[in-house]
Symmetry: C2
Subunit: 449 residues, 2 copies
């Protein structure tokens, strides 16, 4: 509120002539008090908007800092990746690499969203609230002026009421004095009627004069009486109008004035804060979308496909070599003599029996190994797949945050167990082939003989 506004005193203060009437003075004080209350009210409104504006201005700065940090971070990651290109040459073979790429992209996107948020807070919402402040100030200036005018109107009404009352009172006393004069003349006539004989009265000069005076005074009284009655009606009507005006001012007009002050206050603040609400909703959806995409990538991690890519990438090292061929002597006897054939057969049959026995032993051994291998694998997968990676519930409002590390519920004993199983699993799953190879070779030999 400018100084100019404060200089305007309520017109009620100038109602000097009514000061004697306590009620008038009390109303005047009340109206002045009202304007003081409205001043305080608009100051609170503006203070509140400025506080909210300040909130968004500073939140905007915070968001911008955060956005810049994220952007710088993501840029650094990409730069490092470019610099170490040679060292990271094989990374794209792994499907997990896509996750890393997504993390970087997601960070950039998050940075962008917080930059938008910063802009929205520091520029849009601050500007919107600035408009609201100006609106509230401008409107209050007008409302206050109208308030003064209404107060002036009420003062005029009260002055008019005072005047009509005074008029009524004057006319009323004039009427009374006219009545008194009439009554005096009438009592004079009565006295004459008692002292003078009835037949002489008509010719008595004094009596005639008195009679004339009575007629004159009666006319005067009736005029005064009419004037007083008219003034009374005027006073009554004026009182009624004053009471109605004051009552209406207190019941309706004050409300209208305050409604005008609030014009836009609530709705503009709502709008500004709703921008923040919808921005939060928007950025939440963006985060959820990114989380969905990343989740999809995680579930696309395929170690078998990665392995295949790796083998293809190093084709020369992992291609199956040509079979080794028999190194025969150039000239050799093809026909085996009958007796040699017989002896050879005898020898082979003995070997066959030995091989058959070894084969049965190996088969039993293999079956047992397979069984324990399956158990080990199941246990190992249990260790890897324990479901303590869902952290979403720690953000639920009011929920106590319990520090979570993956496998945080794993005791040293469990960890040792895990490593034992792991050792066994690796040893067996890589070495099982030797049993199988032996088994396989003996089978082949057995068949060839």
């Amino acid at each position: 509120m400018g100084e100019k506004d404060q200089d305007i005193k309520s017109p009620m203060k100038r109602v000097g002539s009514t000061r004697k009437i306590v009620m008038f003075s009390s109303i005047r004080q009340q109206l002045n008090e009202q304007l003081r209350c409205l001043d305080t009210r608009v100051e609170s409104q503006i203070g509140l908007i400025q506080e909210i504006q300040d909130f968004f201005r500073r939140r905007g700065e915070l968001e911008l800092d955060y956005s810049k940090s994220l952007e710088k971070f993501a840029r650094g990651l990409l730069l490092k990746h470019k610099e170490q290109k040679q060292k990271r040459d094989h990374w794209p073979i792994f499907s997990t690499f896509a996750c890393w790429q997504h993390l970087v992209k997601e960070t950039q996107s998050l940075s962008k969203d917080h930059a938008i948020l910063a802009d929205l807070y520091s520029i849009s919402i601050v500007a919107s609230l600035q408009t609201t402040i100006e609106d509230v100030q401008r409107i209050y200036k007008k409302v206050k002026l109208i308030g003064y005018e209404i107060h002036e109107d009420i003062q005029h009404l009260l002055q008019e009421l005072h005047t009509t009352m005074k008029t009524y009172q004057r006319y009323e006393s004039e009427c009374k004095s006219a009545k008194l004069k009439l009554v005096t003349a009438e009592s004079q006539r009565k006295k004459l009627e008692q002292t003078i004989a009835k037949e002489k009265l008509d010719r008595n000069k004094k009596y005639k004069l008195t009679e004339k005076e009575i007629v004159k005074r009666d006319t005067k009284y009736k005029d005064a009486r009419l004037k007083a009655l008219k003034a009374k009606t005027e006073y009554q009507l004026c009182l009624e109008a004053s009471n109605t005006t004051i009552h209406k001012y207190f019941v309706e007009d004050l409300c209208d004035l305050i409604d005008c002050m609030d014009l836009g206050f609530g709705s503009m603040i709502s709008k500004a804060i709703l921008m923040h609400v919808s921005a939060d909703q928007g950025r939440s959806r963006a985060i959820l979308q990114q989380a969905d995409n990343l989740s999809h990538l995680i579930h696309s991690i395929d170690c078998r496909a990665d392995k295949q890519k790796f083998l293809e990438h190093h084709h020369a090292a992992f291609i199956i070599p040509k079979r080794l061929e028999l190194q025969y002597q150039q000239d050799q006897t093809e026909i085996i003599e009958v007796d040699i054939k017989k002896e050879l057969h005898l020898d082979m049959e003995q070997r066959l029996e030995t091989l058959g026995q070894r084969l049965r032993d190996l088969r039993i051994e293999c079956d047992e190994v397979w069984k324990s291998l399956e158990t080990a694998e199941t246990k190992l997968l249990e260790h890897y797949n324990n479901k303590d990676n869902d952290t979403s519930d720690i953000f639920t409002e009011g929920k106590l945050y319990i520090h979570k590390t993956p496998n945080s519920n794993i005791t040293p004993k469990l960890k040792a167990e895990k490593q034992d199983i792991e050792d066994y699993y690796i040893m067996v799953s890589c070495r099982k082939h030797f049993l199988q190879i032996n088994y396989y070779c003996y089978c082949r030999k057995f068949e060839n003989i």
Copy 2:
């Protein structure tokens, strides 16, 4: 990989005796190349995990900074509020104050969530990935050792194959020389049979000796032949076993080795990143919840209720004053004379007619004002309620961000129009009562007469 690991040379390099056989040498080179590839692979895996670990470590730091800034900001707001308690004494009267309170509370909650996020990134996920790195390194160490062992086994097989081949070749040439000796003896016997008469042959000493020699050489040859055949079978079986082993190693065992290397790699990285995904989902839900709460508060903003609270708070200033009473003279004539009554009535009837006319004019004026007031209010509400406060769509991925300020689509012309309507609205809505008051007073007077 430690130095110790690099010192272990592939056993294939020690297969010196087979160097002459090109195929053996080629297989040896290939196996060494494979180990080099696996080294590179595990380096890439660890590099990738370390990069992701580094990502979360640094994101954690960023989140912590952001969280601290938010916390400091919120604390500052509350401190300022406490300091300015007196000045802000009337704020709680406004329902908009609850929005400000929510903004502060929301900031604190956001700070808490980002602190949790920082913890999750810097501690939980980093620790989880550290475990993964250790797992991958430990497992690879074992896998590499097993790889060496398999290579050694293959080398032994190839050496054995080489030995059996050499044995077979030696026995084969022994068999050949035995055969040659046998054939020489037989040709000697033939020569004797041709030079000596048939009947003298049985008694010929030289022939007898030759015959004995043939029997001896035949036995020797048959022994050599059996040995050579056995060695050939041994060689064939050994070749078969070598081929099977090598084939199985390339087709199955290498895959098993790589599978063991990947044991936990994919699933542990998935788990770590899924923690991030679920955390993002959790914090999004928290943001949405806060937005919902704030939205609810915004829709609870009630200017009328605020006004009522304000009026109650300043009860003394806004209480309706007592009605003004008629100030009658003490003694007054109650009975109005008949002729005065008549004249009074005549006068009143004239006033009534004047008032009636004024009343009709006012009624028309009032109706018009009401109509234009309604139009103005509708227009003004249009200005306030234009729906450009939904900013959620600017966060949709890929959508171009168009800078939005509330009323940004309002031209100066529209703004001027808004202020004109506002002026009119305030003026009329506050001043309409005077028309109404006049109307009301005239009505009352009309009725009283």
